[in-house]
Amino acid sequence: MQFQTFGAASVRLWRFGQGHPVLWLHGFEGHPGDAPYLRRLAETRLVIAPEHPGFGESEGLSAMQDITDQALHFRRVIRALGTRRIDVIGHCLGGMFAAELAAISPHLVRRLILVGSYGLWDDANPLPDAFSLAPPAFAAAKWAKPEAAPATTEDPMTRQRNLGSATKFLWPIPDRGLIRRLPFIEAPTLVLHGAQDGLVPPAYGQRLAALIPNAGFQAIEGAGHMPMLEAEDAFTNAVTSFLG
């Protein structure tokens, strides 16, 4: 892990492995750090996982006035890596960012994977309010098997900071106009979704896949909002076979 500055943002950045680069954009609860599933992806490729501005120890959220600034921030990250085209995987809030990036910078994204991604809103099927669910209800929505969920080791203050920063893009309704930009995505896209995701129900993933020009949808059984933890093998297989 190292700090790196991109424009007005000074962020932590994790790098693992080598090979064709893949950018990992984390979800609203925070950066996974040195997670086993990232290590596994790094067995065959270079994984670049920046922390978002305003999360953990990374600064620069005040420079992100809207979602465009946030997407252009990732464009800066990719440019700074010196690669022209990169695979992008975004989870949760990071999925929303990844889709925005792929829409406004289609020339930079080779293949796109969206996992339990925010960004849409359906009046007929409203998302739960992730920010006010009491901890047991939150766990029940997040995990397919809450009783078997890994214990959290995260500092509560850091978690509050992360969720607070996430409100910039997810509160009060996690819709910043992505639906109008999805048709501009050119990259072949895989929408992955835990079949038991209660934070972002799978119907949202199906809708994303329907609106992105060249996208497929795949549900992962036995997993909620964190398929990379609850069904690591199925998740890794889906990702590696799609990225090739």
Binding site: M157, Q160, G164, S165, T167, W171, I173
Partner: protein, 412 residues
């Protein structure tokens, strides 16, 4: 020492099992639990009480902004202020305050306060608030990550719109206006400005840097308030800021009667109703990002001091309406009894906490109007005169000049 009349305009007819059912009193409280005719009666009562307070010598009439709650049915303080500005003569119209981040464009605040200043003859105190999380984040949908930034931009725009004599353009992040040109302009060349807070260091900085009056507006009792108020004054000292007591406002529930026994008889139900029915879904009270990490840590420190004086168990009993009347009094949630007793206890508290602006809450919960009438009369005629000497040697820059005239002169 200045005294301002205030009450949370609590809906008085919540069902008896409201608290037992753990219904949140904010954000998503079922609308079926209220009758708009009762709200109308209640509003008329509060207007009458504040008109009386004006006659009884109070320095200000305080109105506040809350949304989607039976705890205080005052979604627009400026509407209540308009009713008062037109029907009172002397007291300041203390708007405490408008939630700046919730008005779009924020020139709405500047216009309405200026208009109220005209209507009242220059009696408006401009209060700027962030709003509780329930109001600003949940009812009005502002992302916590943007709340302070929006407040600050709105504040700059409002101040400039009062000060500038020529039309100007405003290119903000959240508000863009080609022509800002306020009609009417306020009577007062410079509004006294108050900003209430709940212990955030950033709010202290704002008050110190702009010479605002800081308000600690809470009902959690003296033990919770004291560490926060002490910390505020220490912070002022540390920053070399003016420690004039008139730059500090404080809310206090007061229950005054001819005898202590009568106070207990008259006010017990209202006080318990007030505390019992304030339960709010904890998630709505603390959304992530509403407070900075720095402030969360500072506030947790103050809470530890408070808990050394009053256990978490006792605080929970207080918050659920289960303390006895005199326990509430003992721990400073209320100050009750004869005018002499109330006067003595207020003198001790205001001296100890260095408070120059007391916001006296003289109606609580479902208190009958006639009890609040007597409370207001006793406070105005028997308690306040005996406390006017306190802090008299300090100038008060935080109430309007028009309200500081002697009574006889104001009546001319």
């Amino acid at each position: 020492m200045k005294f301002h009349w205030f009450a949370e305009a609590s809906y008085p007819k919540l069902p008896p099992d409201f608290r037992a059912k753990k219904i949140s009193s904010w954000v998503d409280t079922p609308k079926s639990l209220h009758d708009p005719h009762v709200v109308g009666e209640m509003c008329r009562m509060f207007i009458r009480l504040m008109q009386q307070a004006d006659r009884d010598g109070f320095d200000g009439l305080a109105v506040n902004e809350h949304h989607q709650t039976p705890f205080a049915v005052t979604p627009s303080p400026n509407l209540l202020a308009a009713a008062l500005a037109h029907t009172t003569q002397r007291a300041a119209i203390l708007i405490i305050g408008d939630s700046l981040a919730l008005y779009n464009p924020p020139t709405r605040v500047a216009e309405e306060m200026a208009w109220l200043d005209c209507l009242s003859g220059g009696r408006v105190i401009a209060g700027f608030v962030f709003g509780t999380p329930m109001d600003s984040v949940y009812a009005y949908g502002i992302p916590p990550a943007e709340l302070r930034d929006r407040f600050e931009e709105a504040r700059q725009l409002i101040l400039k719109s009062w000060a500038e004599q020529e039309p100007f353009a405003f290119n903000g992040k959240y508000t863009k206006l080609r022509y800002v040109n306020l009609w009417p302009k306020p009577i007062q060349p410079k509004f006294p400005i108050w900003v209430p807070g709940s212990g955030s260091v950033e709010t202290w900085d704002l008050c110190i840097e702009n010479d605002y009056c800081y308000g600690h507006l809470s009902f959690s009792g003296l033990h919770s308030a004291k560490p926060l108020v002490d910390a505020w004054w220490e912070y002022c000292d540390m920053r070399g800021a003016d420690t004039n007591p008139h730059r500090m406002a404080f809310t206090q529930l007061i229950c005054c009667a001819n005898t202590d026994a009568e106070a207990e008889r008259l006010y017990t139900d209202g006080v318990k109703y007030f505390y019992r029915n304030r339960y709010t879904n904890p998630a709505y009270e603390a959304p992530p990002g509403y407070r900075s990490s720095k402030s969360v840590q500072a506030i947790m420190g103050h809470r530890k001091i408070a808990e050394s004086k009053l256990s978490a168990e006792d605080r929970a009993r207080a918050a659920s309406g289960e303390m006895s009347f005199w326990e509430y009094d003992k721990h400073g949630f209320i100050i009750a009894g004869t005018p002499a007793r109330v006067r003595q206890r207020l003198r001790e508290m205001c001296t100890d906490l260095r408070i120059g602006q007391l916001i006296a809450c003289l109606h609580q919960g479902d208190l009958p109007e006639e009890v609040a009438v007597e409370n207001t009369r006793l406070m105005g005629q028997e308690v306040m005169p005996g406390l006017r000497d306190l802090w008299a040697e300090h100038e008060d820059r935080w109430t309007p000049a028009a309200t500081q005239l002697p009574l006889a002169k104001a009546a001319e």
